[in-house]
């Protein structure tokens, strides 16, 4: 008998505000440890939080993008627990009255089907700092742990989905869609390598028609790939346990991406009692109808609208449009390249093909691509106007990637311009025919079908002689003319 998987996600998204949720410290990453930690972030006695209104507005923007009810009154609460990277001994978060209520996210799956995932709510909260376990020791050489509070207090929204997903692919599609939404809104940098988005996955399995099984939560997954792997691993594990007659224990699990394994971190019994209560240092956050309308009117183009526009304006397939429109940086790159090269289809193929492959291989975000959208556009122009062939174009792309200049400069300096001069090409063709009498005879003795295959030899010779610069169509025409002649 088959199993059904039920998946719900909790997604932490770091908001792109200049300063922290409750202090004026910078949210910049990569600085010296504790250089962006103020008296408030250090939880000095007597310090008090003041909420960053831009973080509130970002959360509202997200709520509007998923068609959610915006909390006109939301309340920050304290989640109490001890940990060295949590300076106050509590995390300021929202519980009973979050800023964003129920909403919905629409997905397009790879097989073309659509799916809706309901959002239970999204709330604002502050991030914790980081414990640094490496390279610290005291005078006696005993290992010590360092605390870096630069990240402490960075604003997050935690987006909590309903358990509406039934496999890893759907969960990843959902996560990607959230990424597309928050980056399109400009409320998050969405840089996964910096932990800008982190996923907690709740998973349970059951026999079809039965009530929900016991769930586990796999925490802190920081890439789509890890999330997919972790889900598959956990689903498999739960099914194994159940099929062996065991029981799934409600627990929190940690996934290790390097070894593709997971382990139980703590069971429900050891779960903290967080003793939530409304934070008495902060007043309820009130949001007016006017402010909501103002933010709604100023919303940028969202992924779904952009996708529709791509299908319409660039005649792309739904799937291509979905891929290209999801990420704001990718969309912007594609549009710029398409405009410069005045060929959307070609631009789409290059962006989804060669460029994405190279970016993935070198683990580079498209915004930092060594080949700029303008360069790619230029390359496309040169393909279209016959200056270079598609094959040579790959060579130009590689050189451009390596920083050897713009496509035009590379074509020029490397002499990659396609040989379209009929006289020059004709001479080369004549030479080849003269030097390969046996092949010529063989060709001429063949029927049309065989000739089509056999002409390849002469094309190859000509390409070799011209270092690939011969215009393929012209060459073909010329060869046929001479050989058939």
């Amino acid at each position: 008998m088959s199993w059904e998987t039920v998946i719900g996600l909790e997604v932490h998204v770091q908001l792109a505000t200049a300063s922290k949720l409750f202090s004026a410290s910078s949210t910049r990453t990569g600085d010296e440890p504790n250089s962006n930690a103020s008296l408030i972030d250090l939880a000095m006695p007597g310090t008090l939080p003041v909420v960053n209104r831009e973080a509130i507005r970002h959360a509202i923007r997200f709520g509007l993008a998923i068609d959610a009810e915006i909390g006109r009154r939301s309340v920050f609460e304290r989640k109490n627990y001890f940990y060295p990277d949590l300076p106050k001994g509590y995390q300021t978060t929202q519980l009973a009255e979050p800023i964003v209520g129920a909403g919905v996210v629409e997905l397009q799956l790879e097989d073309g089907t659509r799916k809706s995932v309901r959002i239970h709510h999204a709330h604002l909260e502050e991030d914790a700092g980081k414990s640094l376990h490496e390279a610290f020791s005291d005078d006696m050489g005993r290992a010590m742990t360092g605390i870096d509070l630069n990240r402490a207090g960075t604003p997050l929204i935690e987006i909590v989905s309903e358990p509406d997903m039934s496999n890893a692919e759907e969960a990843v599609a959902f996560a990607r869609k959230l990424h597309a939404i928050v980056t399109s809104l400009g409320i998050s940098d969405g840089d996964m390598s910096q932990g800008n988005m982190r996923f907690d996955v709740n998973i349970s399995v059951r026999r079809p028609g039965e009530p929900l099984g016991t769930r586990t939560e796999t925490k802190n997954l920081n890439s789509f790939r890890f999330m997919e792997k972790a889900i598959k691993l956990e689903v498999e594990r739960q099914i194994d346990v159940l099929e062996d007659g065991g029981e799934v224990v409600q627990e929190t699990r940690l996934f290790n991406g390097d070894t593709n394994t997971a382990r139980a971190m703590r069971s429900k019994e050891d779960a903290n009692d967080y003793r939530y209560f409304p934070c008495p240092d902060l007043l309820p956050v009130l949001v007016s109808e006017e402010e909501i309308n103002e933010l709604r009117d100023a919303l940028p183009e969202l992924p779904d609208a952009r996708k529709a526009r791509f299908v319409e304006a660039y005649a792309l397939s739904e799937y291509d449009a979905d891929l290209l429109s999801a990420d704001l940086a990718t969309a912007a790159y594609f549009e710029a390249a398409a405009k410069q090269g005045s060929d959307a289809k070609l631009a789409a193929n290059w962006v989804m093909g060669e460029l994405t492959a190279r970016l993935n291989a070198d683990d580079i975000g498209i915004a930092r691509s060594p080949v700029s959208a303008e360069h790619l556009g230029e390359l496309i122009l040169r393909i279209k106007d016959g200056t270079i062939s598609s094959k040579i174009a790959k060579q130009v792309f590689d050189a451009c990637w390596a920083g050897e200049g713009s496509p035009d400069q590379i074509i020029q300096s490397k002499g990659l311009k396609q040989m379209s001069d009929t006289g020059e090409l004709e001479k080369i063709v004549d030479d080849i025919i003269a030097n390969h009498p046996a092949q010529v005879e063989d060709y001429r003795g063949s029927d049309d079908a065989k000739r089509k295959k056999k002409i390849g030899f002469f094309v190859g010779q000509a390409m070799k002689a011209t270092q690939g610069k011969a215009n393929p169509q012209q060459l073909n025409q010329l060869l046929q003319q001479k050989l058939n002649g």
């Binding site: 006695p45 008090l48 003041v50 060295p84 939530y276 209560f277 008495p280 007043l283």
Partner: protein
């Protein structure tokens, strides 16, 4: 000079009768002479005080100056003072040199005040007797075998012994008013949100409020004018205009409606204490006020509600004292849990631990609704009681404390009895109202205080009532014999 009020000293400085340096040196001398006896100060900042005094003298010489220029003040050791130990009366912060200054201290310094030092207090402001201080109990200048009340007991005793002419306090459940009453001085707890809490070490954030303590209502008005005002750094600070407290002082009391709640004069109340407050009411009646009997039925629930809400907030507020970043850290922790457990066990005293445990319990899963939520409901009932009352009257009065100063050690093993000392003051904090305690007599040679409660932001009105009363009485001018 030490027998003069702050208001009189201000006039003396303006008239060049003495310099700020002379004044400051005089009080520093008195501190050296008497602080060993009453233990009312934790830290004396002599050097800094003299430097501030000299700067104040230069300002005054130019014919300039603010509300408090050149006037010495002692700050409760709950206010952060940059570069100066800020202990909050706890071993936990015995080694804590504050890296910044509280808004209250900064505002008073901006008006030219001279800081003499930091006053003793119950640990983390948790106590009504000043016996929970890590630095030892403060002695009541009226009888050194007795407590000064708390938690601002150090401030009140400092004033009563005339070791400073002005002091700051904080009041979470009566911590300004009760010690003021027990030491024969005047203390005002302003409306919640009137004075910034930035830099004031939190006990119970929704109840804590800083206020002035002095020898008279006029002195408190002068200090409040310097302390009050909106602060961007405190989200709960209110953006209401600051009243003209000094001008309001002299209004006549013709037609003033004084509410007298029956709950403030229960049958069980010490008759002599009740009489002291009744005499005060009669005096105000003579000046044209009208007494209106009323009832605040929910007020009897205020002590239990308070002892849920305040510890609950405290249990969370005090989590930051974990031995990781500042404050007491145990020796040689073997691991993180050991670091937490021993640092906190060693750093906190018994009363603080008791309240952390009570608060943790009240917030824990399964008990939240029964305790914390219910206490918040009681809080609303109390607020509603006062709102109904203030629809009929201008101020509400009664005794500040049901008892005079008790013997040191008499209640240390009886926390519930100790908590009842705040029965008349706590409701005011739960409602967020302003209230003042003024000296209204003596019972067996010990001071008694009467409380004047006002509606929100009516600090000017209650200071006015107390000032008019003090114009007709001299209780506030009495000085304990040994300190005259």
């Amino acid at each position: 000079m030490h027998t003069k009020t702050l208001t009189e000293l201000r006039a003396g400085l303006a008239a060049r009768e003495f310099s700020s340096r002379e004044l400051t040196e005089h009080f520093l001398r008195r501190i050296r002479q008497f602080d060993g006896e009453i233990n009312s100060l934790i830290t004396v900042t002599e050097e800094q005080a003299l430097a501030q005094a000299d700067a104040a003298d230069a300002t005054l010489a130019r014919g300039e100056g603010g509300l408090l220029t050149g006037l010495p003040v002692a700050h409760k050791d709950i206010f952060c003072t940059e570069g100066v130990r800020t202990s909050c009366g706890s071993r936990m912060l015995d080694n804590f040199i504050a890296p910044y200054t509280a808004t209250v201290v900064e505002k008073m310094a901006a008006q030219g005040a001279v800081m003499l030092g930091k006053t003793n207090m119950d640990e983390f402001a948790m106590g009504s007797s000043n016996e929970t201080s890590f630095y030892g109990p403060v002695k009541n200048p009226w009888d050194q075998e007795r407590v000064p009340g708390g938690s601002s007991g150090g401030a009140a005793a400092t004033l009563a012994a005339r070791l400073a002419p002005a002091a700051t306090g904080t009041d979470t459940g009566g911590s300004i008013r009760q010690p003021a009453a027990l030491n024969g001085v005047t203390g005002l707890k302003p409306t919640y949100g009137r004075v910034s809490r930035w830099g004031m070490i939190a006990f119970a954030s929704s109840l804590d409020q800083a206020g002035p303590m002095g020898l008279s209502a006029a002195d408190c008005a002068l200090m409040l004018a310097a302390m009050a005002g909106h602060d961007d750094k405190d989200s709960t600070s209110l953006d209401e205009p600051v009243g003209d407290y000094l001008s309001d002082l002299n209004q006549n009391l013709e037609g003033l409606r004084i509410g007298v709640p029956e709950e403030f004069f229960p049958d069980t109340l010490d008759g002599a204490i009740a009489d002291s407050s009744r005499d005060a009411l009669r005096e105000l009646e003579k000046q044209g006020a009208k007494l209106v009997p009323l009832s605040l039925p929910s007020i009897n629930l205020s002590v239990p509600a308070y002892y849920v809400i305040a510890p609950a907030e405290a249990s969370s507020n005090l989590s930051r004292f974990d031995g990781v970043r500042y404050g007491h850290r145990c020796d040689d922790p073997v691991d993180l849990l050991d670091l937490y457990k021993r640092s906190r066990s060693e750093g906190f005293g018994e009363e603080v631990k008791r309240r952390i445990l009570v608060g943790t319990y009240a917030l824990s899963a399964g008990y939240y609704d029964a305790y914390y939520r219910r206490a918040q409901q009681v809080r609303r009932l109390i607020r509603d009681d006062f709102a109904r009352a203030f629809a009929e009257v201008d101020v509400i009065m009664g005794p500040t404390s049901p008892e005079t100063a008790f013997k040191i050690g008499a209640k240390v093993d009886d926390p519930i009895n100790m908590y009842m000392a705040d029965v008349f003051t706590i409701a005011v904090n739960l409602a967020g109202l302003p209230a003042l305690s003024m000296p209204s007599g003596f019972v067996n040679g010990l001071p008694v205080g009467t409380q004047v409660i006002g509606n929100y932001f009516q600090e000017g009105r209650i200071l006015n009532v107390a000032h008019r009363y003090q114009l007709a009485t001299d209780w506030h001018q009495r000085i304990p014999g040994a300190f005259a």
